[in-house]
């Protein structure tokens, strides 16, 4: 394993993209930062700009209006970057797949590395997912 991957594994900075989600996955992602779960222990930081990010946490389904913006965020993230789909909506559209405004889950538009199902997944599951994504490298 190269030193680059080693450093990346120990210090993943994540940016959080939510297309059309119900907030709950987003809240659980934030809850993972807060005292009970505290992901900063593992060097995981939530950053304010996709330029600084190593991993994208994507939640919710994509709808027609948010699709171009999601793609733009993905393109602006420096590669190599991981994409982690958080929640059932992000994995397979959940109960919204019949809706007129939903254009599909994330893996239709760009490669997703790890899927974390659950509605919403618990913060422990999110942390486990990020760790799994890193060990894939």
């Amino acid at each position: 394993m190269s030193i680059k991957l080693k450093a990346l594994k120990k210090s993943p900075w994540v940016f959080h993209v939510s297309a059309a989600s119900c907030n709950n996955c987003d809240i659980e992602i934030l809850a993972a930062l807060t005292p009970r779960f505290d992901v900063e222990r593992f060097g995981i930081l939530l950053v304010g700009s996709p330029r600084h990010a190593d991993a994208l946490l994507v939640t919710g389904v994509i709808n027609r209006k948010s699709l171009p913006r999601v793609l733009e965020v993905y393109n602006q993230t420096p590669k190599p970057c991981l994409v982690i789909a958080v929640g059932t909506c992000a994995c397979d559209c959940h109960m919204f797949k019949d809706s007129y405004n939903v254009v599909g889950p994330y893996d239709k538009y760009f490669p997703v590395d790890v899927y974390i199902p659950g509605c919403p997944p618990r913060p422990e599951a999110i942390i486990a997912g990020v760790v799994k994504a890193l060990s894939k490298l």
Partner: protein, 305 residues
Amino acid sequence: MNILTILFHFFIFPGFLFLVIFGMFLTFLDRKISARIQWRVGPPWYQPYLDFLKLLLKEVIVPINSSKFLFLFAPVLSFLSAVISGTMIYYFLLYPQRSFLGDIIVILYFLTLVPVGFILGASSSRNPLSGCGAQREMMLLIGYELPFIFALLISIVKAGGKIKLGEIIMAQNNLSFLYSWSGLISFLTLLFVFQAKLGYVPFDIAEAEQEIMAGTILEYSGVSLALFKLAKAILLLSLPALLIALLWPAKSIFSFIIKFFFIFLLIVLMKNTNPRLRIDQALKFFWFILGPFSILGVILVLSGL
């Protein structure tokens, strides 16, 4: 003094290597203490080094519309000026007798160049949010420079009008300047100014993540971002040392470390127990509260207090 010692001083101790390594260690301490205040565990001690290493190896994206040279040059400018000012401060702390005339002014200029680098980089990226950040950084710079200069003036006058850091340090052999009214005023002023120079809450207006994302450093990635982060880390290491040199020199390394961490702790505590101010509130604070306050200090020192 041969060339090797100069190189040693510049690149190893107290120069580049020392500043980088200990600066990053201080950012770890900062994060750890903040985490403890917030009832979290916080990152492990090697975290900043790994972050740095990772950033070095990431892709650098240059925005399409930006001016490429300025965009890439700005972080280097910030970083180098931080290194030079840090080196000078520590060098004169070690060898006060080697100080030269006007070195305080040189340090002052190099310290100012750090935010100028931020402003240049942000402006060249042509992102409106970065632009907003640059504008705020500029206003903040204009805000805190004046009290900063007045606070420096207090020490200079106390040392008998010598614009030499070494002379100032040596003048305090018997009694630190801190133990006087004007010294105290200068100390408080400098504490607030350093908070703003470091871009910490309540003066992290230029990088306000919640309002303008990361503001000035929004468009940076990879090495350039690492350089900006390092510049800030070095400032974190050198500014408390400057404060010690100006007002509260230490006789031994041990007492220096204690004083250093006392000031460092004050800065981190202030960061964690305050909300961010608005830019106009910050300017008001610097001009109408801290400005007259430091002028009062100058008046006091001129009348010998």
